[in-house]
Every structure is written in C-alpha cells, then in structure tokens.
C-alpha cells in the first residue's frame, strides 16, 4: 500500500459534553473498529461461501472417493487418488499439453501484440485507432460463437480451409483437423491465440503511449537506429506491462483454452488436445469421480501457487519503472 492512512478515525466534534463524549467515544470506538468490516462483509461473505469454503472442501475431497450422488457420502481413501493420478497416463500427458499451451500462447500474447502495438504506435491519426478497434473484435466475441465459426471453417469435407488447400494443391486429401492428432492441439492453440491478440495489443499500445517521447528524441540525437531504440529503450520501459502480460499469459493460457477444448475436441483425439483443467472437469462431471478431480485440483493449485509466487518475485525484480 502506497499511502499511509493518517487518520484511523475522524476527530471528535468539538463542543460535546465530556461524559457523553466518553461513553460515545467508547461506543464510537467499537463502532469504528467494526465499520470497515461491515463494508467488507458482503464481499468477504460471498467469497467465503463461493471461493474459500469450496476450496477447502475440494482439499478434503481429494482424500476421499465420492460419486456426488446424494445419499452417498465420501469415503476416505488416503493418498489413493494421488497415486492413481500419477499412474494415469492421460493425466500425465495432459500436463504436457498444458505446458504446450502455455508456451505456445506466448507468441500470441507477447510477441505478435508487441509488434503490432509498436507498428501502429508510430502511425498518425485515425488509422491507428481503426486498426486497434478492429484487432479487438475477436476479444469480445463469446467462446461458443468463436468455436462454431472455426469449426465450420475447418470442417473436413465442407469447410473453406480444406476447400482452398485442396484447390491450391497443398494437400491431396481433406484433413479432419479436430480429429487429427497432429492438428487438434495446434488448432486449439491458434484459436485461443487469435482471440487473445487484440487484448495484448491494446495493453501494449497503452503502455507505449505512456513512454515519454523525449527519450526517443534523445536517443535519435545520440544516433541510435530504430532497432536499437526498440531494444534498449522501448522494451525496458515497457517491462512492467510486458511482465504483467507474461504473468497473465503463463498463469491463465490453459484456462483460456478450456471452452474451445470442450466444444471442439473434448480433449481428443485420444487425449492429444486436453489439458489439466479439462481433465479435472472430466473426472468430476463425466466420470463422476469427485475425489479424483479434487486431487488433481489440489496438486495443480500447489504447482500454480509456486509458479505465480516465482513470477511475482521476478516481476518485481525486473520491472523497470520510469522514475
């Protein structure tokens, strides 16, 4: 917290009788102590019920077996779920896929947007805003709509992509993209990336406008070419934003793919496009194995926590603020 709060309560009004002041002070003191909590109550209560309680419950379930059917109760099984998870090949390969999505999304969330932001930044006037507005459109569309469109475009026998590729002679047979192990996950990656590019571009554009022009002019005077300017000036000055987007991307990219996996491939073909989140969902609602899902969630939560703490530290260390 940047600013200290100098007053923890309002100064007492002048002119009140002393006894009354004492009593009202005591009552008032208690009231003032409680006030902040009162304002916080709705938020904390709701979070408690819908975030923290279930989290603890999930941790509890991780050590039990339960089919989620009312009338049955969870059965304690110790570390059984965890050992089965570790042996489960599809879970292990889903971890690999999660890493794939995380790393794979980086070009879409960092590199390409950075390029686009820089290029549009140097433009004058209206074109800049027009481009930015257009890039942003995929971002506001809902996942289901996006999936429907892409499914249609990549349909094996009726889709535009195969049609064009066949006509150009690039392929001789139509490809069933979502059923093909070599294509399914790349396509999911591409679709997620397609949607996210606009978001990052806008963020980077905003960060760029925050950089003081004088630095560039000084650098130009010093004879630095545009490449040098980019790497020595732009990137470090944008480092807070870059690290922020990097953190968000690493932490959330697999989550962003969830809807597309569910609609387009359900993790297939034979588990080549699934990721940890999707497996968790499948264990719970498809196999009705709550304990298994909870164990995966617990494991993941720990790993996730470690990663984000590390990223946080990194962020603090490497952010270069302009002061």
């Amino acid at each position: 917290m940047s600013q200290a709060l100098e007053t923890s309560y309002a100064p007492p009004l002048p002119g009140k009788p002393s006894i009354a002041r004492n009593r009202s002070l005591n009552g008032a003191k208690l009231w003032r102590k409680l006030k902040p909590f009162l304002y916080l109550l709705p938020a904390l209560l709701l979070l408690g019920i819908w975030m923290y309680r279930p989290l603890l419950n999930t941790f509890y379930l991780a050590f039990h077996k339960w089919g989620m059917v009312p009338g049955t109760s969870p059965e304690f099984v110790g570390f059984d779920n965890f050992t089965r998870l570790m042996e489960n090949k599809s879970f292990l390969s889903s971890i690999g896929n999660t890493l794939f999505y995380t790393a794979g999304l980086l070009p879409f969330s960092i590199l390409i947007p950075l390029l686009l932001a820089t290029v549009t930044h140097q433009m004058e006037g209206r074109m800049k805003n027009v481009y930015r507005a257009l890039f942003f459109v995929p971002m506001i569309l809902a996942p289901v709509s996006v999936s429907a469109i892409w499914r249609w475009l990549f349909h094996p026998s009726n889709g535009l992509v195969n049609d064009v590729l066949l006509r150009l002679g690039a392929i001789s047979q139509p490809i069933a993209y979502f059923s093909d192990p070599s294509f399914a996950k790349w396509l999911i990656l591409f679709i997620t990336g397609w949607k996210m590019v606009g978001f990052s571009t806008i963020m980077f554009s905003a960060a760029l406008t925050g950089i003081n022009r004088e630095y560039y002019e000084a650098a130009a005077i010093d004879g630095a070419g545009s490449m040098k300017q980019f790497f020595r000036l732009t990137v470090p000055l944008m480092s807070p934003m870059i690290l922020f987007m990097l953190t968000m991307s690493i932490l959330f990219s697999s989550q962003w793919t969830f809807a597309y996996i569910d609609i387009l491939t359900t993790g297939g073909p034979y588990g080549t496009s699934t990721n940890v989140y999707y497996e968790m969902y499948k264990y719970a609602f498809s196999n009705l194995n709550a304990g298994f899902s909870a164990a995966a969630a617990l494991l993941f939560f720990i790993v996730f926590g470690v990663i984000s703490l590390t990223l946080n530290q990194l962020s603090r260390r490497y952010s270069f603020y302009d002061n």
């Binding site: 408690g48 019920i49 923290y52 309680r53 603890l56 419950n57 509890y60 089919g67 989620m68 059917v69 009312p70 009338g71 049955t72 109760s73 969870p74 090949k89 599809s90 349909h155 094996p156 026998s157 009726n158 047979q173 139509p174 490809i175 069933a176 979502f178 059923s179 093909d180 192990p181 297939g268 073909p269 034979y270 588990g271 609602f285 498809s286 196999n287 009705l288 194995n289």
Partner: protein, 438 residues
C-alpha cells in the same frame, strides 16, 4: 471470526449436511414390488430422460411416442410423463447428483453396470409385478432381452435398438461400375469397392468413425476375437484375433480411400452425397433417406461385412430403459409407460418414425403393424436378419466404466489413425484396464 475458524465451521456444516443426507435415503426395496394406486384425477408425474430427444433426426418420433402415451394411456390411468432431453448422456447423472427425480432413463449399454452400482437403478423384477412382466416380455426377441441382464436380473429393457448397417450411395456405386444391389460382403470386398469408387469419382469410398463406440466391437467379434471376458474380470481385445481385425481397419484407413473425421463429420459427408459407403446405426436411416432424396441419389444397405467365410457378428447399438422409481405409485406409473413404449404400438412408432428395429419381430409381418413399412424399406429385413446373430456390447464392470470406455475408445482411435503398432497400443490399454477391474 478469523478465516480459519470460518473455514472450519463451514466445513463442518458441509460435512454434517452430507452425512445427514446419507442417513436420509431409504434402503432399496426387497421382494415383490409394491404397486401404488394410480389416479386419473391426480396424475403421477414421472420423468423420462432421453437422448433421442436431442438428436434432430430422432426428436420428432420420440416426441410423438411420448405425446401419444400422455394422450391415451397416460390420461386414462393418471400418468404424466415429463420428457427431458439429454444430448450428452450426462444430464441424468448430473440431475441424480442434484437429487432431482430421475425415473426412467434411455440408457446406453456399456455403462449400465456403473449406473446400477452408483446411481440407484433398480431391477425390473424388484419393482414391477412379476406375472405382468413375464407376459409383457413374450414376443420380444430373446437375444435382445439378454442384453440388459446383469447377474441374472434385468436392469434394462431393450428400447431403441439397431445393428450396424453399411449404407451405400447408389449413384456413386453405379458411377464406379459397381452394382449396389449386389453389395460387398467381406471386408476385402469393401476395400476393393472403396478404391474403385475413389478412383472413378474422386469421392471417399468408405467411412467408419474410429471413435464410434460400438461397431468396433462387432468388428473384433466378427474375426473371432473377444472384447471383455465372460467373467468380466479381464479384457481380451489385445489378443491376436482382435488385433488382426483392427490391423485390417488400420490398413483400410491408410490405403482404402477411408474418409477422415469424427462421427458427426462422416455422417455429414455421407449425407451430402460425398461418400460411397458408411457404416453406422440404422437409427440414422430416416435422416439419410431424406438427405438422399434432397441430393438426388438413392440409398442401399447391407449388413456388417464379414471376415472371409466367418459370418459377421454385429453388436447392437441403441438403448434400454433403466428405471429408478422411488415410491410404489411411481412403480405403477413407470410400469404403464414401459408397457406402452415397448408394446406393439410403441415399437411401431419407433421403427417407422425414428428408424430403430422393432424388437417385437412379429410386427414385421403384421399388416396392422409394420409390414407395409418394411416392404417399402427392405433395409430393415437386413437388420432383422442380423438381429438373430447379435452379441451384446460389452458392459464394462463397475465403477470405472466411463474411464474404461475412454481408454478402449482412445486405444482403438490411436491404432486406426496413427502408424502405431496395433498390438502394442491395444496391449497397453488392456493392461491398464485390467489393473482397474482386478
């Protein structure tokens, strides 16, 4: 209240709630089932979860079936059936989890045992009057009846039923110089025909979805292989006969002008007139018929191909009716519905309007039943003929049925689509499954 305290008390509350709800459920019934009294003035509501209601080609027929019941027997006896569409076969599970009344489910075969154990489905002998049950079952194809039995008791009554059919696009056949009225009989014939069609018309000659979930078993069985051992304690699809069957399919996929894609995409391709042969359930027949009329081609059909001289062994697809009424009145209400939809009238509607098989095979020759319909659509005779040779689809044991289904399906997909060694892939999956069901 500190967060820790809050958390612990909430946790305790939840655990108590769960524990109490466990105490609340009654134990199952035993012995002869009690049948409540039905009252037309006070109709009993029962819920029917059906996946056919979510499939465009089957929806109208199923709705008609339910509506007719509600308007005739339902009105007369005091039963109202509320239908719930279940497109992903998950809704009934989710609703049971949520404590909602789920009385009848159009249930697929492979996960019946899991449902029996985990979701409270009941045996017919336990909830319906014995003599009425026996009387009603007469006339239904005995092979079909066996399919819903577990440990000697009937947990599912065959409802919508079909065997795999090789649908053929008559136009593409003739364009390739083949005669659709003398269809291919063996897998070797199929491959030959497929390649000819591709060469002559440029369209894929054959399609069978690798993740089809049932015909695969027919493929294995037709070659003399087995999927699940009879004692249900081990899987046998990694043995040589089965491996050979899948290897044949893998070869077909790579060298036999086999179309690519998931089930839905293959169906679309065939219906668009761009595939020579397509193996799928007769349930799609009405949809295919309409598509062929719109597209200007004609459709033929033949039974599951055989390996060499060995007669093919088709498995059934479709569903059965699994029940879990929770009161004597519901027992009676559900029984009325079951009797109607699996009676003569029910099967007549199911066959003529949706496309499944009439399990009361006598209907095929009954002029008041389906004789005219079947005469117009000789495809059904093929179907009925195959019915005599069917083998049940594997009902995976116990609680891991969903996971086993996935493992098996994934292994088959991988074997067929990729270049992997079929024997190895199947063995790996078999080992994993065996570990689960030991």
């Amino acid at each position: 209240m500190t967060k820790a305290k809050k958390g612990i008390s909430a946790l305790l509350a939840l655990t108590t709630a769960v524990g109490l709800s466990a105490c609340g459920s009654a134990a199952g019934s035993s012995g002869e089932a009690e049948q409540g009294k039905l009252d037309p003035a006070n109709p009993t509501k029962i819920t029917f979860y059906s996946y056919s209601l979510a499939a465009p080609t089957m929806k109208a027929g199923m709705e008609h079936l339910i509506q007719e019941f509600n308007d005739t027997i339902g009105k007369e006896k005091g039963v109202v059936v509320e239908a719930v569409a279940d497109p992903t076969y998950q809704q009934y599970k989710a609703d049971i989890s949520a404590g909602k009344p789920v009385d009848i489910v159009q249930h697929t075969f492979s996960t019946l045992d899991a449902s029996r154990l985990n979701l409270g489905f009941k045996a017919y002998e336990d909830v319906f009057p014995k003599d009425q049950l026996e009387e009603h079952l007469k006339g239904i194809e005995p092979n079909a009846l066996e399919l819903g039995k577990i440990d000697g008791k009937m947990y599912g009554l065959a409802f919508t039923f079909s065997t795999p059919i090789v649908f053929m696009n008559g136009k593409l056949f003739r364009d390739a110089g083949l005669d659709p009225t003398t269809p291919p009989k063996t897998w070797a014939d199929i491959k030959e025909a497929s390649l000819k069609i591709k060469a002559a018309t440029g369209k894929d000659g054959f399609g069978l979805a690798p993740n089809n979930g049932w015909t695969t078993e027919g493929l294995i069985l037709s070659n003399g292989g087995e999927v699940l051992a009879d004692d249900r304690k081990s899987v046998k699809f990694a043995e040589p006969a089965a491996v050979e069957a899948i290897e044949m399919w893998q070869d077909m996929y790579k060298n036999g002008a086999h179309a690519v894609g998931a089930e839905a995409e293959l169906a679309e391709q065939f219906m668009a007139g761009n595939m020579g042969m397509y193996i799928t359930s007769t349930a799609l027949y009405s949809g295919i018929r309409k598509a062929s009329e719109a597209g200007g081609w004609d459709v033929y059909g033949t039974g599951l191909p055989q390996f060499g001289d060995k007669p093919s062994i088709p498995v059934n697809s479709g569903s059965m009716l699994a029940v879990r009424p929770d009161s004597p009145t519901k027992n009676a209400a559900v029984w009325e519905f079951i009797k109607f939809v699996t009676g003569d009238r029910g099967y007549t509607i199911i066959t003529s309007e949706i496309g499944y098989l009439p399990l009361r095979t006598a209907l095929a020759d009954d002029p008041n039943g389906l004789k005219d319909f079947i005469d117009k659509h000789p495809l059904y005779r093929t179907n009925l003929e195959q019915l005599q040779r069917i083998h049940p689809v594997a009902i995976w044991p116990g609680e891991y049925a969903s996971e086993i289904t996935t493992l098996f399906s994934d292994a088959i997909s991988k074997s067929v689509i990729s270049d992997s060694n079929v024997a190895e892939t199947l063995q790996k999956a078999a080992d994993e499954i065996n570990k689960m069901i030991q």
